[in-house]
Each structure stands twice: as C-alpha cells, then as structure tokens.
C-alpha cells in the first residue's frame, strides 16, 4: 500500500535555483527509505516539500491518498501532525524541559489555546513518559533540553516526533552532527522504533555505508533528479560513484 505518491515534483527557489527537476517516486507503508546524494543534490528539498516547509513549484504529492500541495492552512496542521520530522540540528526548545519538548509533539492535536498554555492531558503526559523510557531518557526528563549531549537531544527529538503518533517520519541528516558511535545509536533507535510501530520512514543521509546497513530501499539523488532507486544490494560501487559524481555546472 502506498503511503506517499510523488509525481512530477519540481522546485525552483525564488533565487532561480532549480532544486528538484520533475521527480516522481512512491513510498510504501512500512518502508525505511534512505535518500543519498552529495550536498546540494536536493535531499532536504524533497523532505521539506513533503511536509510543506517548502512549497513545491509544480507537481503533486499524495499522502495517504490525499493531495497535500494545495492544502489550506488548517488542513496543513492536520497533515503535519501525521508526519514527524527530525533534523540535523535537533531543533529542540533548549530552555524548556526534556519532557515538555516531547509533549510539543502533541500540539498539533490540541486546540490552539489549550496547547498555547501547555494544558496537556494526563494521557499525553503518560505517553510522553513512556516515550522517554523508550529512548532511555527518563532520568533526564526534568532537565533542560539544552543541557543534554547531542545524541541525547536527538533522542528527545525522536521522542517528540513519536509523540505525534505519526504515519511517516522524515529525518533530514539526523546523524550528520554526531560522532560515529552516537550516530549508530541514533540510527538503531530510529530503525527499531519505526520497525516496531510500523512507521514509514524517509531518511536523508550523507554516509553511504550507513544507508546500506539500514535501508529497505535507497534513492540516489543527483542535481535534483533521482538517478538510483533500488535495494542496498543493488547499489554497486559504480552506482555510488555515479551518484556522488558532480557534474561541472557553470
């Protein structure tokens, strides 16, 4: 079953940069898809188009069979809460407790006022605690998010995304600012949880060998087009060379 159907997606930024050229691909429910490609290839633009942090120039995105490129502001809130997003820079509210940061994942489901004053329900708080347990951070719950190490912060970010009870997780280079050991922990958490909960996941990665270890499917992007789409075993060294080869563009 397809959770995401992207057709003829093109993004041209205001300054004239063509980031995506007529991209089409589908993602099935339960896939752990990894997008690889050199920096500037258009990986972030793909993910950010899916939750409309970037407005596509043309093309269509069906999420759970619903067109989302044209949704209104109100609809957008409902779509975004179904998609968790994880960033390279964690992007937590540093001055607020770890627990509160996880609870922020519930905001999309709350009435605007209740959410604003932070009147989270008992169930939401309990869910947040069990998510913290899942990422091994219960003892840090009352610390400020900014006091945690990078790896811990990324685990909080994962818990925040999971608090949304998402159908899809978008992770934009989640390990790019972490050391190799921490990177592995984070990838393990992400893979394990998505697998257990049946969450579809799309991850942007720089590191090919990490991609090969976790991906149920790899997409290779170069200069705004998908030039590889297959399993890890199908990704040969020459394919890798091809994906990371930079054409000289003047």
């Amino acid at each position: 079953m397809e959770i995401l159907e992207i057709q003829n997606l093109t993004k041209i930024y205001k300054d004239g940069t063509t980031a995506l050229r007529d991209i089409s691909f589908n993602v099935k429910k339960g896939e752990f898809a990894i997008i690889i490609g050199s920096s500037g290839a258009g990986k972030s633009t793909i993910l950010r188009s899916i939750n409309r942090l970037v407005q596509p120039t043309s093309g269509s995105i069906l999420f759970q069979n619903k067109e989302i490129t044209t949704s209104s502001k109100g609809e957008l809130r409902k779509i975004r809460r179904e998609m968790g997003m994880i960033f390279q820079g964690f992007h937590l509210i540093k001055r607020v407790s770890v627990l509160k940061n996880v609870l922020h994942g519930r905001l999309g489901y709350m009435n605007s006022f209740k959410g604003a004053i932070g009147a989270f329900s008992k169930e939401d708080e309990e869910a947040a605690w069990s998510l913290l347990e899942r990422v091994g951070l219960t003892d840090q719950a009352y610390k400020r998010a900014g006091e945690l190490s990078g790896g811990q912060q990324q685990r909080v970010a994962i818990a925040r995304a999971l608090a949304q009870k998402p159908a899809l997780i978008l992770a934009d280079e989640p390990i790019a600012s972490l050391d190799p050991t921490t990177s592995e922990t984070i990838m393990n958490y992400l893979y394990q949880i998505c697998h257990e909960d049946g969450i579809t996941c799309i991850v942007n990665l720089h590191q090919v060998e990490v991609a090969k270890r976790y991906a149920t499917r790899i997409l290779g992007v170069q200069q705004g087009t998908i030039i590889f789409d297959g399993s890890a075993t199908e990704l040969s060294d020459s394919e890798i060379q091809h994906i990371y080869q930079k054409k000289l563009v003047v």
């Binding site: 942090l53 937590l92 509210i93 509160k100 922020h104 959410g115 050391d179 190799p180 080869q245």
Partner: protein, 278 residues
C-alpha cells in the same frame, strides 16, 4: 572534493557560508570615509562654534561658590522630597510596565520570522522607529498639553518612549532564534499561537526580562528629569527649589536623586545577573 569519497567520511561538517571578500573591503572603505568625515566635522565645529575658553576659568570659580552655597544640604523637607522621589519611581515602574506589555505583543507581529505578514512587520517596526525618534522630553510636553500636568503625562511619555525601543530589541531577540527551531515546532502541526507560547516565549524570556530591567533604569532617570517640566515626581521639587534659590534644599534633592538612581541601577544589575543564571 569531499563528496567524491563518501565512503571514507563518517562525520561530515557542513561547509560554513563565507562571505565574498569583495564586500568586506567595500564596507571598510565606507567606515574609513565616515571616520574621516567625522574628524573633519569635529574640527570644523570647534572653529565654527567660536567657543570662548576663558569662560571656562571664570565659570569654574563661580561653580565652586555656587556649590558652596548649596552646602550643607537641608534635610528638613525630607518627607516631601522622599515622597516625590517615590512618585518618580512609581511613574517609571508604571510607564515601563505599560511599554513592556505593549511591546511584548507587538514584537510577535514585528519579528520577521514570526510575523503573519511582511507588511505587518514592516509597519510595526516603522511606527516603533518613529516613536523612538521623538525624545521623551518632547513626548511629555505633548502629553502635558493633552492630559494636563502631574504623573499621568510622565507615565504616558515613558510608556511610549519605552515602547519604541523595546519593540525593536524584543523583535531582534525573536529574530535571533534559529529558524530551524521554529520550523521544527511548525512541523509538529503547532499553530502560530502555540509556537509563540510554547517555543518563542520560553526562549526569549530571559532576554526580555533583562531588557525590561535595563529600560526601567533608563526610565527612572528620565522620570526624575521629566518632573522638571511638570510631569510629577522629584524633578518638580528640584526645579521649585532652584527657582526659589533654596540651594541647600536643592542639594539635598540632588543627593536623593543620585542615591535613588544609583540604587535602582545596582538592584537592576543584580537582578540581571540573577536572570542570567536562570
């Protein structure tokens, strides 16, 4: 080059955005120009204003005899003077508070990374700049005409003057927040209000508090001066004493003003340090 060998890279740091050097030399030249112009204008002014420096010498002796007349300070009116001093403090606190509350709301609309529309942000910033450009003393004269003498015009003048500055610095604090942090909140499906209350306010709270205290220090100093033109408080007492040539009383009032301003500043600094540690 790095990207050609991804297999050997475990950690890849994003390349820092370096500005083209051309821009820098251009800016340097601009600054040098300003500096030279400023120097020349200073020399020109010294000549053009035709200052009579001998008056500095005769004036100094006059000043000393004047200060002599002011001594010893006359404490007899202390009840009235301290009362007026407290009124100045009240004017400052109320005026600053009104400014802070209004600036708080306006800053969410003024900050470019939060404003519902660029035009709204631009308009609020424009109005704030206009309000800021008019000195507090002029505001108070306007409000005295509008609402009469006493503490009320003082409060309004300080509220407006504070508002002009606080909208600017509050909006700047918000604009300093990493866009990614706001994006992360929005991507959970949080509404504009929720992003502000759950994300922005906790992040800027200490900065807002420090700025507000800083502003209160300024406003208290203003409050003592504004009184001189009839906006209530201790300034009025000083003007009256000087006019009636009660110089001993005037020196006592100046002493009280000094002590109060000093106390407010020291307390303010202490508070700001405490806030930093939160």
């Amino acid at each position: 080059m790095k990207e050609n060998m991804p297999i050997n890279n475990n950690i890849i740091t994003s390349p820092s955005k370096t500005e083209p050097p051309r821009k820098k030399t251009k800016r340097d030249r601009f600054l040098t120009g300003i500096l030279i112009f400023g120097g020349l204008f200073f020399i020109f002014s010294l000549i053009q204003l035709n200052l009579d420096y001998s008056r500095l010498i005769s004036g100094t002796s006059k000043l000393f005899s004047f200060v002599g007349h002011m001594m010893p300070p006359d404490f007899s009116t202390w009840e009235k003077v301290i009362g007026a001093g407290l009124e100045s403090l009240q004017i400052a606190i109320v005026g600053t508070s009104i400014g802070v509350v209004l600036a708080l709301f306006l800053s969410f609309l003024a900050a470019e990374n939060l404003s519902p529309h660029r035009t709204i942000s631009w308009m609020i910033k424009g109005i704030a700049a206009f309000v800021r450009a008019i000195p507090a003393l002029i505001w108070v004269l306007i409000f005295i005409v509008a609402v009469g003498m006493g503490p009320f015009p003082g409060i309004l003048a300080l509220a407006f003057n504070s508002l002009g500055m606080l909208v600017k610095v509050f909006a700047q604090s918000i604009e300093e927040i990493d866009d990614g942090v706001l994006e992360a909140m929005r991507s959970t499906g949080a509404s504009w209000m929720q992003v502000i209350f759950q994300g922005v306010i906790p992040t800027v709270l200490t900065a807002y508090m420090s700025w507000s205290i800083f502003r209160l220090e300024i406003d208290f100093r203003y409050a003592t001066i504004l009184g001189m033109v009839g906006a209530g408080g201790i300034g009025w007492e000083l003007t009256s004493a000087m006019r009636m040539y009660r110089l001993e009383e005037a020196s006592f009032i100046i002493l009280v003003i000094f002590l109060m301003v000093f106390t407010v500043e020291v307390t303010g600094n202490q508070l700001k340090k405490m806030i930093q540690r939160i």
